[in-house]
Symmetry: D2
């Protein structure tokens, strides 16, 4: 058994698995993609890739590690010449495949080169892959993104655009993708619009990005969100928008507002930070509490804690300090250290907490192990009472749409009541935001049970698509079957 | 010209240069020092070293990089056996010396092995070094810490303790040091007590550390601050305390409260976070202002902004979002990117800022270049007015006591009035905390001009020691002469 | 312009491009493949790969660098469990593909996993690849070996063996390949048998290897050479041998005897070292010469020089000393060094050479630039006369069968007569072995011009296969079109 | 237990431990030192260092690994500007000191910078070091070279030259050193001249080097050997030669001729290759033998084998082939491989050896373990008889003068008779060269027992200097006390 590894508390979070970025006809395209991916680093920290096109050739680079350690090197950027480029940042490089699974994927098709990167997860990828293998396709990765490439390659359609539509029509699940050929930059959102994708503009050069914060970093203008089911085709002639798929009622992922997206991004007209503050305010309204201070679990609990404090009138205080100097290696202590309650990432600020009744605000509870440690730490620092308030409903079902969730049985809320969870993490009281409260914070009147406005499957188990590869066993961890793109 | 490098805004800060940690007679000593140094990482990020003693031999390891990337490796810790160890973390490895300048320094003296690490800077080190060279001493580094070692080695005193006292008595400047021999762990603070040093206890094993946060990480108990001028000698017989130097009125570094120390540390009985909140409150009281929101420059401006908001009644909001995924390499853009105002580390949260009158709170202004960029970013996000409030007086003189300051001429406040500075950074108004306000925030009635309670030389130019190596030229950057320890 | 890089003289050689090794049902299979590839390192030094099968899963590792630096690491071998494995060592990792082009190639076909590695070059690979792309195959490398994999994947045949025969029947060129599925180890030599492949046995476990020296390293027994056009299928039931291709008169590569193979290998019943000595003896007989000493250009000229000395009665002497401590980086000198005639790899032994009439023996002349430098070095050391004797006929045509040759125009013999070449390298006399002399040294009575016993295209331009991808332009460097396997 | 590691057979050799090189007033000095050290790589492969002086500053670089991998990098050479430089290559970086023990050593003395590198070993270094520590000197390494530096630093003499003479006069043992200050390049050989040192010239720039092969690589002219006890001082004024030490009868190391020096070097007027051939001829004369072929153990046995073959009339054949593609890592096999007799570096050439009576020629036997394996390999290849002939007398005493020898008890000849050794390595016969035969091969009439012409302590136990640090226990491995320079 190891110590809580450096960086650990974030391991007890759901993990968004990908961010995408593309730019069309702008000098130093790869450098701009690099900057965009840096702004999207919260959507995937373990590996990234960029493909550029220089007018005659495609160039591919894939690296494990943070953007700021890899693609910012001059030597790397020099290997990515051209004025069109797309990029992808990714949470996991799990499995033996190493860099083989890092996107974008690129292939020289008979019609020319094509590169694609996507955020989301194809829920029938395994089924489609087996079919493609039977007709002779060879897969060089375990990523569902490669499935898209093979579907395009083997499509009987004549024109490239039709091949792509043909391919995507075969897929179930979530995908917000960017693709490029020698003449086009393409962006597509699946018909449910589960993952975000926005269109931007930099002095006339079109940009596609997962979130608006990636436009801000280079001073680009936000144009609009892509619509669910929309495909935009960007060429020298301009931007064409089509809706090639069967239309469906949109179900944007509500957890993007709770945790995944960056607080300074705007998604579908809403500022993420403001929604999180409203979530905190709803939380305060739903459960009144006498206490002395409101303390966020940093950093993800901060906006909700501010909203909670403003609504409740209690003071907002930094009662837990985060050490931002994380490292990459683990310490493997012997017995003398193991049971010491080492706090590598967080420390309670005793001077602020001692003898206080503390409201702790966090975004969610996944396994509950980190919550347990943090509560203990706050108690050890002398808190009189510890009350935990969670800025979302209990997380009790796996996500199959591009989020790394533990298998269902490991989700604390899938096997315990709120009271049992309170005992487990040893708080004086525990409350989650109601599902209607969450919807209200986004501006909706509440959840429409017949036609829910969002994908909230992780809270409700109500999956908006077929899960062909899962064959009903919803507590199987989906990514163990076929690596989702992110 | 490069882009604002990744991690840049912090480059426009004064830099504390060292943290120290030592532990006596506890199994896995080096692992515990590693954890302690990780908690002190804010005092120096570029290199670290640990010396351990296993009962018969000393072991030395020095590595460039973050603790969590280097000393947490099992292979490194296995090379540091023993139950006594000291460690040091350091800001800079500048100069050609590379790891040669990384502390602790160790030497096999005729009386046995001795290792020493210190936080501070010896202001007559160069003068003493030249003298030692004339009598045949060979220096293997350019660090002033090695000077201490040579003074001990060449002391005519008979016993080890007297050699050390003899050596330290020759020094001017600031030093909070930890040392170890085969039988002892020693801690010393210079007579002015410029840098912090605390004594802790872990189930009977004594600990020395720069700050209390390094005790917290391993669950150790805080015993007390060392007194200015005190030497504690920890052996199997217990802890002996002596005061071997001529007594002087203490002058603790007030900037430790403003910026250097971690907010969750307690120094000389005061909680750092609380003092920073009080600084914010003083700032609000000294300069009343009509505005809509209080926005901290993250992360260092946060506690003062909270204090300011609570005192002024204005809402505290995260109007600037920090990207914590920093990297280590620079991007070197061509013309197309260079003038784009790229924001690698900070982004304004437009949804919160647009059309607001913003009070920006930061801890200090050094060169002013980062403030300028941040103000511009906030304006670009649509702020109606931008008012900057600084949680300390104008920084207008270099520090010679273990802080990396630019030469005096580069300090914005050394060559501009407050009005000129406001113009330079383009704010609607700019105000600094008064020196008396700063003292009040620490609990003093104000600054005693005849006998100042703190070292505040960076604000006042009033240096509490001789500066022998500087020969009067106070705008020479001190560390260019001889590498200070930190 | 750089100095002659470290290791340079060998750059002026033809380069064999691959070695293969496979073993069936023997514990620690990957470690044995590692040892076999180490013995075959002379057939490719830049990268290597191994695929193992552990009874349920295939494992793939590819690394750039020498076997002894990469696959010998315990951590690498632990990632290659199982008792069946094949491996490949390779000369070049040229092109942007990096490790993508390193063999063996592996694919999960609908019929199960299949891995393949080959030595040789497919001369219609590009043509076949284009056809495959038109039907939807996606290539992840530029290696002709991947073409084999796709042909197997898309074959309409029912059984795996028939798919493989079907695929190989489509190919022109040279291939000695090893392949493995979950149940079989397969070895195939093309109908001309251009490259070597032998069958060995280690206590009942079957082995396939490019040369017998790879059997010796692990103490395995040599069983026999595979026949040209033979396919052996090794399973738990035993070894099956079939001849599925149209029969042709064999044309083994005669340059394997001249330079490529290791001197301690036996190929088709002949010991390579002995043939090289006989080549030297033929050379002495063909051109009598009065001289004082016979000096090999180390190391490749040594056996022929020994044979020459024994036949001529002149003493064999080490007149040139080779520095075996080669490195990997280049020195880029300024003007002061550039024209100094630096000798990084070879040095003339002046004490032995001064005032002597020297017969220099080398295996071949490619561009002639190294010969020029070596002759100058021997002259500078005081030789009275320098006579060059080459252990093969003039090399005047490119090889398209797995050897890295310069384009034809860069081959010295393609544009100069022997007299002109003698002038160019500045020797007192120059002689090459006759083509009949070379055949005689192998035990043949001479070259049968109508039905040559060997492939000698590099000497004669007489190519034994179609060169479909070359469209007649035989001075195009073949590997620039499509990366040959080796 | 590991396999015979890659590169192992050479581990059963005595190891010369250092080579030195210096150049005065020539542009690109460090690049020329790099080339010189590359030519001296056989004298130490594990680490190297260079110090240069650019007219105002000294620059130091130290790297582990081969010269051709480290100092040939442009970035490294750019950090070594100037026209005066010295360098050192070294066998071992054993011990915890890592690069701390890599020479040259440099110190800023009160009189200015001084760098020194030496080949040899100081036999009273430990004693002197303890004395220096008592007076306050701090050692940063465990190398005896640092002792020289401290003796210079603490010398009471007034001028630099006198300080150096003063320092060297305190030393016992072997030293061929090069040193440099801001104005001088200095070369010194100890009074016995145990290690070589030569003076060269490159268009007027003076050079000092361990062997002449280091002059050849850059086209420099050999001027002369330094005399035993000579100090040359090279300045802008020219070369001054003095003999400051008490005169003694020279005792050059005879093992330099047997194995250490490169065959193309000339030492004290003798060509090393020719002496080795004469050694082989003596060996043939001393022990007549009926056999079929003479086979060298490559590479060190080659010259003697050629001499043996020419004298005996038997054919010289490459019956053992060496794999020059060595690597750096070990393979750790399980049981299935361990007892297989794996031959990583050498392979018997069965085609040449089978049914032959073989004379194996090697330079020396140290532990005998490698000889045992090689004999077994030759027997396994079918040799009818195996006769071992050794080109030196039995090695039965440790060297204390810069050679890494096992402790005496591990030397096979220290505990077995020749007959017992023959049994141990399982040969049909074994013979060593007589000590007089060895002297005859160098041109002497035989060994003068009263005043031996060479240092032959490893064969005779007759040490020409005091061994102060050894206190009589001559089977203690000397370097375990204090790291010798080489």
């Amino acid at each position: 058994m190891n110590l809580m590894p450096f960086g650990d508390p974030d391991d007890d979070k759901l993990r968004e698995e990908c961010g995408v970025f593309g730019i069309f006809k702008r000098s130093e395209a790869a450098a701009l993609v690099t900057l965009g991916l840096h702004a999207l680093q919260h959507r995937g920290q373990e590996a990234a890739g960029i493909v550029s096109f220089d007018g005659s050739q495609f160039h591919v680079e894939r690296h494990a590690g943070l953007i700021g350690d890899t693609f910012t090197k001059q030597s790397v950027l020099e290997r990515l010449p051209g004025d069109v480029a797309i990029g992808h940042t990714r949470y996991a490089t799990t499995g033996g495949g190493g860099l083989r699974n890092v996107q974008p994927f690129f292939a020289e098709l008979s019609s020319g080169g094509f590169a694609v990167a996507h955020n989301g997860n194809i829920t029938n990828a395994l089924t489609v892959q087996r079919e493609l293998q039977r007709r002779g396709s060879i897969f060089s990765s375990t990523s569902d993104t490669e499935t898209i490439l093979h579907l395009v390659a083997t499509s009987g359609a004549r024109h490239f655009r039709d091949k792509l539509i043909d391919a995507l029509s075969r897929l179930e699940g979530a995908f917000s993708l960017v693709g490029m050929s020698s003449k086009k930059l393409v962006g597509v959102r699946d018909p449910l619009g589960i993952r975000p994708l926005v269109l931007g503009d930099l002095d006339g050069a079109s940009i596609l990005a997962s979130e608006t914060c990636a436009l801000d970093i280079i001073g680009a203008t936000f144009v609009r969100d892509l619509e669910p089911g929309e495909m935009v085709i960007i060429t020298d002639e301009g931007i064409e928008s089509i809706f090639p798929f069967q239309s469906r009622r949109p179900r944007f992922c509500v957890f993007e507002y709770v945790y995944f997206a960056r607080p300074d991004s705007n998604i579908e007209g809403r500022n993420v930070y403001e929604i999180r503050k409203k979530i905190g305010a709803e939380l305060a309204r739903e459960n009144h509490l006498d206490a002395d201070i409101v303390v966020p679990v940093p950093d993800s609990g901060v906006p909700a804690a501010i909203g909670y404090a403003q609504e409740s009138g209690l003071p907002f205080e930094l009662g837990i300090i985060r050490n931002h100097y994380v490292g990459r290696t683990f310490i493997q202590p012997g017995d003398a250290i193991r049971h010491m309650g080492v706090k590598l990432k967080h420390n309670a600020n005793r001077g602020m907490i001692e003898n206080k009744r503390v409201v702790l605000v966090d975004d969610s509870i996944v396994r509950g192990t980190t919550s347990q440690k943090i509560v203990q730490m706050v108690r050890d620092a002398g808190a009189a009472e510890v009350h935990m308030r969670i800025a979302s409903p209990p997380t009790k079902a796996s996500c199959f749409y591009g989020v790394d969730t533990p298998e269902k049985a490991k989700l604390l809320a899938s096997r315990m009541s709120v009271e049992e969870m309170a005992d487990f993490i040893r708080v004086d009281s525990l409350a989650f935001l109601s599902i209607d409260g969450l919807y209200r914070a986004t501006g909706e009147p509440g959840r429409n049970a017949l036609q829910p406005q969002f994908c909230d499957a992780c809270f409700t188990g109500d999956y908006p698509t077929a899960l062909t590869d899962q064959d009903g066993a919803d507590n199987v961890r989906p990514l163990s079957l076929l690596g989702g793109a992110g």
